[in-house]
Symmetry: C2
Subunit: 464 residues, 2 copies
């Protein structure tokens, strides 16, 4: 089950006006656009590709409704001919893409769309928006995953994500990148992600005292209670929770957990663990939440804090340290010719491309080569001096002539892919701290194509 | 016209489990929750309240559908009695709120909801999510507005907002906070915001050369063309644009604008202005976009850069410097008694409240007092030693017993309110640079209520 189909009007106005001009000038030749991240945010060394499923569904169902056409007509900007054209327009192109959950790097295409120019142009805004937010969040969530070791991570960000759609997508993207679940009920329903919950301070405060609140909740959910213990004093709260846990145990139930939400998590989790263990509740898990991010989790895990589950909220859900990626969707070929711009610091790689990943003997990523789509693995392997088995192309056909290729992977497939790929990422690239970037270079063929295209433009525009 | 009603399942799981326990224990007494920002982000001195309209609509239409109930039943977590209760539940409470476009400060309630406990609890996640993103973005956009002087601002952020809903809300919130329009066609349709567009580099690159592209677009939109001139060389691009503008002029049309998207905007805008003026095109406006934020706009405006329109994208649309607010929704009263927690650094203000703004003789904001809801303006004025006319209460009834009060202001009313209020904000508080915070204190009455409530809890929990 998925949310309703986004409107074709979810676009920047210029996509429509450019399309109108292409239409007037009969520019229907095939074009290829490449979507990639130009440079990684500070201290980031890898990306987790996510968002493709939504892009493919959007493309397959792309159309302007009668209401959309009426709206555009009323704007007075467009001719009747063009509106008639839009009314019958469908997306008929091909998409080559990284499967969701794949690890990738700056300059590498996450997807390339080849379609008649107008089709490929009109979908730009949506494709960027959809790929951007999920790749952004999956990449951030993966940083949390990288430091959590054997501890579990939950998405607790819904109240501060940027709107409704972001709330759903954050739950989805963080699940792909190794989180085990979310507090978000609607995301759980739509995507089949496990949902988790505890209780809020308001619950505690609504009762005559803390222990009465604990008992009330345990009475309602004897086998699924996680008590929030920091409302008045965390250590006293832990003692009260232990008493409630013992009473539950006498009735044959196990207190699932307690949650810390403020204070010094290291000392409080140790004190709480001791109280629970001394009370005969070694199975009661300790949850922590409240202002957590990958750095705090890393410190706590490294310090041996006995916290079993980390609820990560705002900092993951809005990717606080880097709330956007420098993601672009650039024309790289039109009517059989490479295309690019020469704008300052914004050169893109021409033509239809492929990413070739080179592995070491143990399966760890050694380097990536960005090449032309038609290059063959043996030739690339020869170029870099490894055997063919150590090189794999990463972009796969995800849509052919407007139809999604089958079988499409499921959300759990994406998550499995991420978990598997992550074990092959070099530890230095996994690390939170700044390190040497992963090695990404161009193949000889793409280097030549790029140099030729730049040289031709420089000649044409007399730029020295 | 507005987007479809959000699902009642757009919530954290714990809202539902707490509600189930409240239900089991027959806790139906009235509660009041207060929504506020605990502390402002670094270098921020004010907030622009936004998002209320969506909250009110959500509350008025709040219900669990049969499909929602089925889903919750299938989860196995809830009793039949509770599900039957949820199926008939409607929101019957009152909302006091700041009108959208209002300026406010840390600790001040943006809204307070009074309703039977379960109703007020169940809506928490949505209310926070909705108020957070629009207040966040309106507050960021207002910073851009504060430095733009007589220049115009456009929202160009759609491709990098966090999802679809954020894309729409960013267009709306930035319009409230002084932007003149957006590139976002769907937001333009839904909210009636003016839409603007230029062209992308891909358009230029699709033609045989830059001037051919310019001419083609001008042919399609002779009275509404803004040419992107930095694809190959901005100064040469400006010369070509000037030729196209002159040709348009000969046919009785005016070139609307040119857009700079890279390079040194100060020198390039001056060179471009001179080229356009020398070509007899003084009416052609210069647009700038590409990595802009309030600091860059301030420098350009202060330097006298001849840029007429700034397109602000990612940095506004995700509020890069502060992508979240420390916004909370806290129980402050239940069953007639004040409620609060004592958690470290997270004390909230008890009871139903009002914000009283104190103005100087010229109408400029002098200070705010947060007081109890029932306090009267003359008493507050007497406390601070000013005449009654200089004090105004800010929170207004927006919903009574589940019905939106009428007439509700329109989006343009919100924008007008913001523009008017902003002129009364002290210049030091408007400034981007860090300055003394605006003066917000508690009334004597609220101070006493707060002290009493804290003292009582400390006694109850034996905290010294």
């Amino acid at each position: 089950m998925t949310p309703p189909r986004p409107s074709a009007l979810f676009t920047d106005l210029y996509e429509l006006t450019m399309a109108a001009s292409y239409f007037q000038h009969r520019m229907f030749a095939p074009a290829t656009f490449s979507l990639f991240v130009r440079t990684l945010p500070k201290d980031r060394r890898f990306l987790v590709a996510a968002g493709l499923e939504e892009v493919l569904q959007f493309l397959q169902e792309f159309r302007f409704t009668a209401e959309d056409i009426d709206y555009l007509r009323d704007s007075g900007r467009f001719t009747v001919d063009f509106l008639d054209y839009l009314a019958q327009l469908r997306f008929t192109g091909d998409v080559y893409a990284l499967p969701e959950g794949s690890l990738c790097f700056a300059q590498e295409p996450l997807l390339e769309i080849s379609a008649p120019l107008i089709e490929a142009q009109l979908v730009e805004t949506f494709v960027l928006n959809a790929m951007h937010v999920q790749t952004l969040i999956a990449s951030k969530a993966a940083r949390c995953y990288s430091v959590a070791k054997d501890r579990s991570l939950l998405d607790f960000s819904l109240r501060r994500t940027h709107g409704i759609d972001a709330g759903l997508k954050v739950a989805r993207a963080s699940y792909v990148a190794g989180f085990i679940g979310t507090s978000n009920v609607l995301a759980s329903k739509l995507y089949g992600i496990p949902s988790y919950g505890t209780m809020a301070h308001s619950f505690i405060e609504s009762f005559a005292d803390e222990e009465a609140a604990f008992n009330a909740y345990a009475e309602t959910f004897p086998d699924d209670t996680a008590l929030l213990i920091d409302t008045y004093s965390t250590v006293e709260g832990a003692r009260r929770a232990a008493r409630v846990g013992q009473a539950l145990l006498q009735r044959g139930h196990r207190l699932r957990g307690v949650r810390l939400d403020s204070g010094n998590f290291l000392t409080l989790s140790r004190a709480t663990r001791k109280i629970l263990d001394d009370a005969g509740l070694p199975f009661t898990r300790i949850y922590a939440s409240g202002g957590l991010n990958e750095h705090k989790v890393e410190r706590l895990v490294t310090s041996g804090a006995p916290i079993d589950v980390y609820g990560i909220g705002t900092d993951m859900g809005v990717s606080t340290d880097a709330p956007s990626l420098d993601m672009a969707y650039k024309l790289v070929e039109y009517d059989g010719r490479p295309r690019l711009k020469l704008s300052t610091n914004k050169v893109s790689l021409v033509g239809r491309k492929q990413i070739f990943r080179v592995y070491d003997a143990g399966g760890t990523y050694e380097r990536d080569m960005i090449g032309s789509r038609e290059e063959l693995v043996p030739a690339v392997a020869r170029d870099v001096g490894v055997i063919t088995d150590r090189v794999a192309p990463l972009l796969q056909p995800a849509m052919i002539q407007g139809r999604i290729t089958t079988p499409q992977p499921t959300l759990n497939d994406h998550r499995t892919r991420f978990l598997a790929e992550f074990t092959h990422l070099p530890p230095a690239i996994q690390a939170l701290a700044r390190s040497t970037p992963y090695d990404v270079t161009l193949t000889n063929l793409l280097t030549r194509c790029q140099q030729d295209a730049v040289a031709q433009l420089r000649t044409q525009y007399e730029i020295v």
